[in-house]
């Protein structure tokens, strides 16, 4: 049996290695990216055998079982999201190879790998404090990437993220320490078992701090203000990474801590999800900058996922996971296409760009259809599952906001496919990877029962905290 530690170790060593290689081969260093993610994907597939049947795969430090060691846990839910993350990273790295990585590549490549390392660790870790450390790795690498191009907007977005993220992680750290104070342990499963030892009021306070702290990364409402600024400011290649891959880590962390460790806070998650969804989508309707619109839409989708998780039934959690998959792949294609199509993002600037270079524009269109939940794409099943797991009073607002979503996406598409193109890059034949993304959303719709099955397996560890705790603390394996 191979330990999940190997995944992180390989990512980390590749990150260092790429730095070293970059000293000698300034241009060639980018070629390491697909190799890295091919390796991690291989590892994941190798590790997935037991996990697909619903088992857990653990890695420990120091040869002791938790709670006496720091552990990494690969569960069905985390396997699903990890697989998504690494597949998309692989696609993105090939896309970047074709399109050219942001210069200097010697700095971009390690940062990229570190970012994925942060994401993977957050998903894998079974330790509350480690989650904090990896959160910081994630946010530092993200900030560096956002400010990478050194134009004013990128720096601005990066600094905003840095400050808000700093406050958020301080709050999270506070919560972790309070939990440690009362339970005397940092292991998620162990804390989860002893959560009863924390006084009632304190428990709620901790829950609040955790929602506020991790909510910054998970892009839910009052903590997500940095998102549009950062997404708009960053280089579009970086935004693709942030929107489709990095944002999943925050959601996963929040869900993991709330469901497994605290076993509380789903209601707040639900309310915040609704607020996020409504506000973000209305904002998106109003905004004129396409990158910002897509950022708001990402936040809206995050809110929708939080609604799904907050309802806390097997069907809704499975729908939430499917939603994360759909959103990740579609946003990958959409931001990728925007990057290929244009380098100015006002609604007037994108006029007619769709007619100029059809391949990325059509990829964008098809990915949008998937995001909007039309059939022939996985989005349709997601929407169907989601709607049927909703509570009745949520139905009307959610459907209304869906209509708003259709409206503003129609407007964007309409703008892209009409009128004379003012300007724009003409880069032919360089967006084949986006088509692969489109093929994925279509193909997923056909293997949907299998995906649903996998998600339903993932729900049990969230629905029944005891299962996770029992498996991690010794009952498993």
């Amino acid at each position: 049996m191979v330990s999940p530690t190997l995944l992180l170790a390989s990512l980390l060593s590749f990150a260092f290695l790429s730095g070293l290689i970059g000293i000698r081969f300034k241009r060639g260093v980018a070629y390491i990216l697909p190799i890295v993610f091919a390796v991690t994907l291989g590892l994941l597939i190798y590790m997935s055998r037991g996990v697909l049947d619903g088992g857990f795969l653990q890695g420990f430090t120091g040869g002791e079982r938790p709670p006496y060691s720091i552990n990494l846990v690969l569960t069905p839910f985390s396997l699903l999201i990890l697989f998504l993350v690494h597949t998309l990273s692989f696609l993105l790295s090939i896309h970047l190879l074709i399109r050219g990585v942001p210069e200097p590549a010697t700095k971009f490549v390690p940062l990229f790998i570190l970012n994925i390392l942060g994401v993977s660790s957050i998903i894998l870790t079974g330790d509350l404090f480690n989650l904090f450390v990896f959160l910081e790795i994630l946010s530092i690498s993200s900030v560096s990437l956002i400010g990478f191009m050194r134009d004013g907007k990128g720096l601005e977005g990066g600094l905003k993220y840095l400050i808000v993220g700093g406050v958020g992680s301080s709050l999270y750290l506070l919560a972790v320490i309070i939990l440690y104070k009362y339970t005397g342990t940092l292991n998620m499963a162990d804390v989860g078992m002893r959560i009863g030892e924390v006084p009632e009021g304190m428990r709620r306070f901790v829950m609040l701090l955790i929602i506020a702290g991790l909510g910054v990364e998970a892009e839910i409402f009052p903590f997500n203000m940095w998102v549009p600024d950062a997404y708009q400011g960053a280089d579009t290649r970086v935004t693709t990474l942030l929107a489709s891959i990095t944002s999943k880590a925050g959601m996963f962390g929040l869900v993991r801590v709330l469901f497994t460790v605290l076993g509380a806070g789903m209601n707040i998650l639900l309310y915040l999800g609704v607020i996020t969804f409504v506000i973000s989508e209305l904002m998106a309707l109003k905004t004129k900058n396409i990158k910002r619109v897509l950022a708001y839409s990402s936040m809206g989708q995050a809110g929708l996922a939080m609604i799904a998780f907050g309802i806390n039934t097997a069907a809704s959690i499975a729908a939430g996971m499917l939603l994360m998959i759909n959103h990740a792949v579609s946003k990958f294609v959409m931001f990728g296409s925007i990057e290929v199509l244009t380098d100015r993002f006002g609604l007037d600037d994108i006029k007619g760009i769709g007619l100029k270079s059809p391949v990325p524009a059509w990829s964008f269109l098809l990915a949008t259809l998937s995001l909007l939940g039309f059939p022939f794409f996985i989005g349709f099943w997601v929407k169907l599952n989601l709607i049927f797991s909703l509570k009745p009073y949520l139905l009307v607002p959610v459907l209304l906001i869906f209509a708003v979503e259709i409206a503003y996406y129609t407007r964007i598409l309409w703008t892209m496919f009409s009128g004379e193109a003012k300007m724009g890059k003409t880069l032919a034949g360089s967006s084949a990877v986006l088509l692969i993304g489109v093929v994925i959303v279509i193909a997923l719709a056909f293997v949907y029962p299998y995906i649903l099955n996998l998600s339903v397996k993932g729900t049990s560890e969230l629905l029944f905290r005891g299962l996770y705790i029992y498996r991690v603390l010794g009952g498993g394996l």
Binding site: L159, K160, I163, V164, V167, G168, L171, P199, E200, G201, M202, R204, F205, L208, L209, A212, V216, P222, F223, M225, W226, P228, D229, I268, I279, L282, M283, A284, L285, K286, T287, L365, L369, L372, F374, P375, F376, F380, K383, L384, I387, F388, L390, P392, L395, V396, L399, F402, A403, V404, I406, A407, T410, L413, W414, F417, S418
Partner: protein, 588 residues
């Protein structure tokens, strides 16, 4: 959630046929054409025979036959010109989802294929040259899909079932809600008046073959769905029925009015199609056995004559590359068969025997008279008058008057002609023997009370009158022949160059439209301005802006100042802290 297996198989058949055609068309244009026709015909025959569609009950079967007819004819139009390969695929997809929708008898199947048809039509329009219609189509029909999703959820929550009969288990007031939502969905699909914005644009911008299918078949999804909604309610529908009848009559009148003002043949036909669907909604809204029969019969006749008209206009487009009414004229010399087809099409539109438009309108009018609402009746008459007016404009602008194009054109291509014949035959035969159609509806309408009418293939007996359509048709044909004979032998018309008429042989600039019907209904635009100014389009734009304004108000939260962002985090914590009982003391 079980999807109807038969529907999936039908859809798969059509998609495979479409894929095959797509690859054939990529190989060479000719193989694409031949392959398209063959695979299309094969798939429809396969579906008919294999799934025993002929043994399906009543209206479902009728819709299948009608959509099959439209499918074949629009396929003929597609293969008679340079069609991009992808259009074959998308057309097949749209057709397959339409058939699958009619076949599946539960809400989940209906929803899936409703959305699928939306996607395929959208993609098909957008992959053409003009795209505006596609996006409007997506906007409206996507929203309609959401409405249907609401219905789906509602019925599932109340009854735990997905099949259509679940509606019977609802409480009366729930029934009315479910019905209203469902009816609105299908009204959007049909393009009934407040939701009609997409229709003229979509019909104009779609590929001509697709437009035939859109008008003739896809709108029948709406008709069939609306019929189902009414049917499942049975006679309890009548409480709210009149509202829908008024919806229908407003559609019929306003769409007719708009049709007069169009300068583009396809847009004119779009509005005409809308106007005719208004009649169907009237019939469904009155909800008695006579009116429902009339509505279904009119849906069938609408499917036939509207498709025929679109087919002819499509054929004209193939030859002249334009559908602008001001640029066309005098084509009768070069395309006589197309002219005759169009002539019969507009005769049916106006509801004149011996075509199928006559019996359907006859039944609807009788239902209206029996219903006894004078406003409804007179408005419907007005709509019929409007139908005369725009039909005249259509036939005159395209085929009569002076020939305005530079070069000569040929008759429509053979497949298109075959499609016209395909429509002309039922148009005339069913016009003489409408009982053939009514037989399909005989059983279902009993749900709306015992029919107060009886029929044989050629005759119809309503409480008001008995009529033999065969006799009426023959008499009309006889008078027609007499009129032609009189014109041929005793006519005193003389051919003149068109400029003589207008200018007394003086030289004029070339740009002027000399055609008699050029901007023919200008006076209506002038006099009806007060009515036309308040367009519903503006209402939607304002709605859009309203949401935008709400978003604008909310957007003040996102100040761009990072300190505000931190404030919001703290504010959240403070607000929720106040909700926590005994939170602060625990700190110590």
């Amino acid at each position: 959630m079980m999807v109807n297996q038969g529907s999936i198989l039908i859809f798969t058949t059509f998609i495979l046929a479409g894929l095959l055609t797509y690859f054939l068309a990529r190989v060479s244009k000719m193989s694409g054409r031949i392959g398209g026709a063959l695979t299309g015909l094969f798939s429809i025959i396969f579906v008919y025979l294999f799934f025993h569609i002929y043994s399906l009950p009543g209206v479902q079967n009728l819709m299948f036959l009608l959509i099959g007819l439209v499918y074949v004819s629009s396929l003929f139009l597609l293969v008679s010109k340079e069609t991009p390969p992808i259009q074959y695929l998308l057309f097949s997809g749209a057709a397959g989802s339409t058939f699958a929708f009619i076949n599946g008898l539960d809400f989940i199947t209906a929803f899936i294929f409703l959305e699928l048809s939306t996607v395929f039509v959208f993609l098909s329009i957008v992959s053409g040259d003009r795209k505006k219609g596609g996006f409007l189509y997506l906007l409206f029909n996507g929203t309609g899909g959401l409405l249907f999703l609401y219905l789906l959820y509602f019925i599932y929550m109340k009854t735990g079932r997905f099949d259509y009969s679940a509606i019977a288990f609802l409480k009366p007031d729930e029934k009315i809600l479910a019905l209203t939502i469902g009816f609105l969905t299908f009204a959007i699909k049909m393009g009934t008046m407040p939701f009609h914005i997409w229709q003229p644009y979509a019909y104009r911008d779609a590929d001509n073959g697709i437009t035939v299918f859109l008008s003739g078949a896809i709108s029948k999804i709406g008709v069939f769905g609306a019929f189902l909604m009414v049917f499942l309610q049975g006679s309890s529908f009548r409480i709210s029925g009149n509202v829908y009848a008024y919806l229908g009559v407003i559609t019929a009148v306003l769409a007719g009015l708009y049709a007069l003002l169009q300068e583009d043949a396809k847009r004119l036909l779009a509005y005409s199609s809308l106007s005719q669907l208004g009649y169907v909604v009237i019939g469904l809204g009155l909800a008695n056995s006579l009116s429902i029969s009339g509505a279904i019969l009119h849906a069938v006749s609408h499917g036939i004559f509207e498709s025929l008209l679109f087919l002819v206009v499509g054929a004209v487009y193939i030859r002249t590359k334009t559908t602008d009414l001001n640029k066309l004229g005098g084509l009768i010399t070069y395309m006589p068969i197309s002219f005759i087809a169009l002539l019969f099409g507009i005769i049916a539109t106006s509801g004149i025997p011996p075509t199928i438009g006559f019996p359907s309108k006859w039944m609807l009018y009788h239902a209206l008279v029996i219903n006894g609402d004078p406003v409804l009746l007179s408005l419907t008459f007005l709509a019929s008058i409007l139908a005369f007016l725009y039909s005249f404009r259509l036939v005159y602008s395209i085929f009569l008057g002076p020939y305005t194009l530079k070069e000569k054109v040929g008759e429509a291509p053979f497949p298109a002609l075959a499609g016209m014949v395909f429509f002309l035959l039922p148009l005339l035969i069913l016009g003489l023997f409408p009982g053939l159609v009514l037989k399909f509806i005989e059983l279902p309408v009993v749900r709306f009370g015992l029919p107060d009418f009886s029929f044989t293939p050629a005759t119809l007996k309503t409480p008001l009158a008995t009529v033999n359509f065969l006799t009426v048709g023959v008499v009309f044909i006889a008078w027609f022949v007499v009129a032609i004979l009189v014109y041929a032998f005793a006519g005193r018309s003389r051919w003149l160059p068109v400029k003589n008429n207008y200018t007394a042989a003086e030289a004029i600039e070339d740009e002027r439209i000399l055609h008699y019907t050029g901007d023919f209904y200008r006076f209506i635009r002038r006099d009806m301005n007060f009515l036309l100014r308040h367009s519903i389009q503006r209402f939607y734009r304002r709605l859009f802006n309203l949401f935008g304004v709400i978003g604008d108000g909310i957007s003040r939260i996102y100040t761009g100042d990072v300190r505000t962002y931190v404030y919001f985090i703290l504010l959240f914590i403070l607000i929720v802290l106040f909700k926590i009982k005994g939170g602060f003391p625990c700190l110590w």
